[in-house]
Symmetry: C2
Subunit: 440 residues, 2 copies
């Protein structure tokens, strides 16, 4: 087999077969396929697309490029959740303890924030002492004891994805549904899971803002699951405004603790419980979404979920006292409020601008090597549909570095729109898709 | 400027501006643009095309990536010819001496053969002692004395083209009219010429067999010339059957000597004189094609062109006695004839198959590092339109290595078609194009 022939086939709009795809992916590690050939193929894929079967074969080959966790000695169904990323999107810290408390095994490998979106690892690391860099044997031990573990991507899992992602980033070949889907699923399926629930964001703050793109990505990933014999379903959820009220790492951890105590913002509760219910259904711990919701609510009400989170923090080296004393989380030195310019009803809180502003004050990364400030962030005091009087506060900015504060304030002020009328309500969960079929 | 933004622009169908193109080409040498970014851009260009102005800017940037010969101290108009490559295509050895004898300066930088097509350098090197690797100062000295020099590509001229060509070859991005046009013209214009005549082949043995592709390539190159202030015109000539009767290096040199003595096959004479006439018109040594043809014919008739070729051979280290004693050229040990299976009129002599067969017996290269046999080749005894009786010879195969002889014989036998009717004559010169305008 020759890379140049495979590239030519895709260049001319052909369909690559499983052997060709496997050979190209294998060639990354073997050195038979240099990066300059892969980047030409990536561009040909971006411009000429891949069908469902090619996408599944690419995912499978990338998943097999490294170790696949063998969790077969664990009896519990292995189910994970993946989000395409958003602003204030912190459901992992809520649903993983609930799902584990409800009998699932959740081997969660997450990423860091970049640009306007946050990352689970950054949020966890705002807990003093918390280690996300467990090696696979440490992670397995935590998983066996607690039914969950939350770590970062390791060199062993899907190394081809890291190579290809870096190459895509440098060659303007990120924006391709098949490549995005294969990247996400290859990493997640290398966790050795049986089932996966996807939270595909749509709207202003989403990686893919257009609903049709989100739908295509969700469908592509469900199809991959079906092809590879994994139960994969997707919720498409709105990322028009930030999820919950807190945006910024320690602020988001504190908000998750609130939800695990049965309090907290309603949108965050709703999405977290819906995702958990879906995980429980796929993992056969609930017969229906309704039962899944009830089980999830119960593990919040009886404190089991919060307790599971406390034990996770302890097991991964963090200070478990933050659970009862959230003041032990890093706090910012300064605060400033953004106030309403007029009275009315909040009609828009643009997620991307809020996310970008929190990045500017240090809560996120403009580059992969940026250092973040775990305490910085924004707390929304009004969200879409809320009434506000002129000069009342809309949100509070918490910061230590004031370098880009003025720019952040301006962005945030402009992120809010206030209208006379109550906006027509838009659903938080826009669509649900199961493997190979839509389920409203 | 960032390569990824430039790649994204072309990926999305945008038009690159002169600064972006210059920066990308400069980045090859400066190391700012690694090969994997260039290969992604190349694929985006293949699939999304470049317009005439982008193509001219790419050519200009590639030309400027190395030295440009400064021939301004030479008074004679500097005019060269370039062919897109064919089988038995040996016009350079005829037209360069004629053009020099008629007052032009011809600084010809040529290539080697690959696959079914031959190369000028290989033909010249079949002359004992002939050196094509003169350095630029030696070349300039020959050019000043004789008005012509024939050398190989040097490291100094258009180095970006060598880098990009190797990358295109490995990434299935060769087949793009703008990239082909820029590659050819950047090298040729780095010769410091005022004008260039292109021989764009079309038909079976051509690099681009389809007339519409040949036409597009010719037009693209004429447009580049117009944009960069150089007189560029093109003849589109038929490569359905080999040009002349000889295919193979020393055999072709001998045939060129015949033409320079006023003998030789009519198609080779016609194309050589038409190309020379066009060079003389562009170089203002003739007012019309007819005058150019007359001047060319005169320099054959009075022996000036042959004498110029003899002096060139001597100046470049070759044995000038081959001019009067062609037996001094390498000759093959063995010969075998292919005979007609039936009587009739030859209706086809497929150029590509003949070229491929001569490569198999050692006259050409299957890989860039193959060693060639200067004596091997084929002499056609019948061409399209000729009558033949059953069992009369159609051609003679001359060879030293018999490794692939059987395969070559079969290819050649099948390359000939014999019909009952005289085929409808097809013109050797299919079209003529001038800078930015077709000229019948």
């Amino acid at each position: 087999m020759r890379a140049v022939d495979i590239i030519r086939k895709k260049r001319d709009g052909g369909r690559l077969d499983a052997a060709e795809i496997a050979w190209m992916v294998h060639g990354i590690a073997s050195g038979e396929v240099p990066d300059y050939q892969w980047s030409a193929l990536l561009m040909a894929i971006v411009l000429n697309d891949m069908d469902a079967s090619e996408t599944a074969q690419l995912t499978d080959a990338m998943m097999r490029s490294g170790s696949i966790l063998d969790l077969s000695n664990l009896e519990a169904p292995k189910v994970d959740k993946h989000s395409t990323g958003g602003v204030g999107d912190k459901t992992s810290l809520i649903l993983a303890p609930i799902a584990a408390a409800a009998g699932l095994c959740v081997p969660m490998v997450s990423g860091r924030g970049l640009g306007h979106t946050g990352g689970t690892l950054d949020k966890l690391e705002s807990i003093p002492g918390f280690r996300v860099d467990l090696d696979l044997s440490e992670a397995r031990s935590v998983l066996e004891r607690l039914g969950l573990v939350m770590i970062g991507q390791t060199a062993e899992l899907a190394p081809a994805d890291r190579f290809l992602y870096a190459l895509r980033d440098a060659t303007a070949t990120v924006e391709s549904i098949p490549l995005i889907a294969a990247s996400i699923l290859s990493k997640k399926l290398a966790e050795g899971i049986d089932a996966l629930v996807l939270d595909v964001k749509t709207g202003d703050g989403a990686f893919l803002p257009q609903l049709e793109d989100s739908r295509q990505l969700a469908r592509a990933m469900c199809n991959i699951g079906a092809s590879l014999g994994k139960a994969v379903s997707a919720l498409i959820s709105s990322m028009e405004q930030p999820l919950g009220n807190a945006v910024g790492n320690s602020l988001e951890v504190a908000e998750c603790l609130e939800v695990l105590r049965g309090r907290g913002p309603s949108d965050l509760i709703e999405l977290s419980l819906e995702l958990t219910a879906e995980m429980l259904v796929l993992g056969k711990q609930a017969r229906s979404r309704e039962e899944g919701l009830a089980i999830s609510q119960r593990s919040i009400d009886d404190g089991c979920a919060l307790e599971r989170f406390r034990r996770l923090i302890e097991a991964q080296g963090g200070d478990p006292r933050v659970v009862d004393e959230p003041d032990r989380l890093p706090t910012a030195e300064h605060a400033v409020e953004i106030r309403a310019r007029r009275s009315g009803i909040v009609s828009r809180v643009a997620a991307r601008a809020i996310g970008h502003a929190t990045m500017l004050i240090g809560a996120g990364r403009s580059r992969v090597d940026s250092r973040i400030d775990p305490a910085a962030g924004v707390v929304l005091l009004r969200k879409v549909g809320d009434e506000v009087e002129e000069n009342e506060p809309l949100c509070r900015i918490l910061y230590n570095r004031s370098t880009h504060l003025a720019e952040a304030r301006e962005l945030i002020a402009n992120a809010f729109s206030i209208a006379d009328q109550v906006p027509s309500p838009s659903p938080l969960i826009v669509e649900r898709l199961g493997s190979n079929e839509e389920r409203t």
